[in-house]
Assembly symmetry: none
Homo-oligomer: 256 residues x 2
DNA sequence: GTTCCATCTCTCATAATGTGAGAAGATAGC
DNA sequence: GCTATCTTCTCACATTATGAGAGATGGAAC
C-alpha cells in the first residue's frame, strides 16, 4: 500500500464520473460517458445510480443527468463565503494601509467566528490567525455576526453559554449580551473595547450578500497605545465604504 | 444485494464526510469528525487523506480542513446558465415540435451570445450551431439579453461598436439600437425580422433567475417562406409559457 | 524536565464490496 | 417487422475497504 493510487479508488473513480457528467452538462447518455472514460457500462451505471440516489445528480429524461440538489447545496455553502473572502482580500489590504491597523474578515460557522483574512500593520501582534476559530460573543466581528443571525439561532446561541470572561470588560451576562446584540443590529456596527483582550479596540461592520443576508464581517483592530487613535466615526465610515465595495464587487459575479 | 443501501457504500460515506467537513468550516479535528459521524478514526483518516489527495479538501494546519480547489472548481462549473440550459432542453424540444420551427436558447458572455440549445424542425437550415458565439446586436435573443443588461454595461456595449450590417434591415446606428433595446425591455420580448439573415424571422423572450435577473433568452426562428406563419401573438404566448416553465423547473433545485 | 491526554499513523487479517463480462430486457429508429 | 443502442440484472472473482490495536507524535499542564 504505497502506490500512487492506493486509497478509496472507487470513490475517486466515481468523483471523476460526477465531474464528467457535470462538465458535459447532461448532453450525453450514460453509455456515452462510460465510453469516454473507458469504463465498463455496468460500472458507469452503478456509479450514476449511486450519484442519483445521493441526489448529487438528477435524471433529466433520456439518460441525461444534471447536478442534483445536494451538490447544489454543497456548492452554495462553499462559494459564498469563500468568494466574499476572495474579492475582499485586495479591498481590505488597501483599507489596512490607509488606517494603519490590522483588518480582518470573518464568517460564522457553528456559532464560532472563522478568521479568513488578516492583513495590515501590526498583524503579527494580534493573536488571531487565518483559519482560526474563536468564540463569537467577545469580539467585534463575532457580535456583528451574531446580531444578524435569525432570531431562532441567536436565541439558541444566547441560551447556550457559558460565556467565559476574557477580560474585565467581557460581556458574560446573557441579558446584557442580548441587549448588546440588539444595539449592534440597530446601529449597524459593533465595537469591542477591550472585551477580548485588554487595550485592544475593534470596530466591525457586516457584509451582506445580494439577498441582504449577513454572510461575513470585517473589522479594524487597534492596540490602544494611549496616543493617537483614529476617530471612531472616521473609522466607521471607512469600514462601511470597504464593506460596500466588497458587496458591489462580489455581486458582479452573481448577476449578468 | 437488494437492500436499501447496496451500492458504493464507501463512496457515500466519504461524501458524508466531505459534507461534514465543509459544513463544519474546518472547525474540528479529524478525530472529532470521526466521533460525530460514528466512524472509526482510521477510516476517517483514510477518507480525509483521500479527499486531500484529490484536492477536494485542503489541510489548514492542526488537523483542520477546508474545501480544496477541485471542489471549488466543480462548484463554479455548476453555473446558473448551464443549469438553465439543462432544464430548458426538454421544454424547448416540446415547444419546437408544437410551433414546427427552430427553437434556441442563448446566454450572454463577453457581449456575445452563446448558443446553448438548438432544436426542432429546420434546425439544420439555420446557420447557428450549439456552442457558437455571435454578435448580440443583430439577433432576437441578443437584443433581449442586451436590453436587460445593467445600464452601465449596456451603455458600454452601445458605445463599443462597430455594428456591421448583415442585411439591409440590420440596425447599425447606436441611437436606433438604443431605442430598440428600450422598446424590447418595455414590451418584454424582441423581434428580429430579417436583421440577421434575409427572410429569417425570430421572436425572443427572456428567462429570469429567482432574483429576477435575466440570465438567458429563448427564441423561435422561422424562415419566411411566404406562406403560413404562426400569428405573432400566439407565438409570443407560447414562448412566454415555455419561459415560465423553465423558470419554475430551474428554481426547484435552487431554493431552500 | 516528566506525565498525561488527544490526535495521528501504520500494519494486517478478514470479509465485505465493488468489479466487469455477458445475458436478457427496453427503447428508438428505420 | 428488424436492427442498433442503451439499460438492467446476475454472478463468480479478487480487489479493496475495513477496523482494531499498537506505535508515534505533539501539546498542555505541572
Amino acid at each position: 500500500m504505497r502506490d500512487g493510487t492506493p486509497q478509496l479508488s472507487s470513490f475517486k473513480r466515481t468523483l471523476t464520473m460526477l465531474e464528467a457528467v457535470v462538465d458535459d452538462g447532461g448532453a450525453s447518455s450514460v453509455a456515452e460517458m462510460a465510453r469516454r472514460l473507458g469504463l465498463p457500462v455496468a460500472t458507469a451505471h452503478r456509479q450514476i445510480a449511486t450519484l442519483v440516489a445521493e441526489d448529487y445528480l438528477r435524471p433529466l429524461g433520456k439518460g441525461r443527468h444534471v447536478a442534483g440538489s445536494r451538490l447544489m447545496k454543497l456548492a452554495q455553502r462553499l462559494d459564498e463565503k469563500q468568494l466574499i473572502a476572495n474579492v475582499a482580500a485586495p479591498i481590505l489590504h488597501r483599507l489596512a494601509t490607509r488606517v494603519r491597523s490590522t483588518v480582518q474578515l470573518g464568517t460564522l460557522e457553528n456559532e464560532m467566528v472563522t478568521y479568513r483574512i488578516k492583513t495590515g500593520q501590526g498583524a503579527s501582534a494580534l493573536f488571531t490567525k487565518v483559519g482560526m476559530q474563536l468564540e463569537a460573543y467577545c469580539s467585534g466581528m463575532g457580535k456583528v455576526l451574531l446580531a444578524y443571525l435569525p432570531d431562532k439561532d441567536r436565541d439558541n446561541y444566547l441560551a447556550g453559554g457559558p460565556f467565559v470572561p476574557l477580560t474585565a470588560k467581557t460581556i458574560t451576562e446573557p441579558a446584557a449580551l442580548t441587549a448588546e446584540l440588539i444595539k449592534v443590529q440597530e446601529q449597524g456596527f459593533a465595537v469591542d473595547d477591550g472585551e477580548i483582550a485588554d487595550g485592544l479596540f475593534c470596530m466591525a461592520v457586516p457584509i451582506r450578500n445580494p439577498a441582504q443576508q449577513v454572510v461575513a464581517a470585517i473589522s479594524v483592530s487597534q492596540a490602544d497605545t494611549g496616543n493617537k487613535r483614529m476617530a471612531d466615526d472616521v473609522l466607521l465610515a471607512m469600514l462601511r465604504q470597504a464593506a460596500s465595495a466588497i458587496e458591489a464587487e462580489a455581486n458582479v459575479g452573481t448577476d449578468r
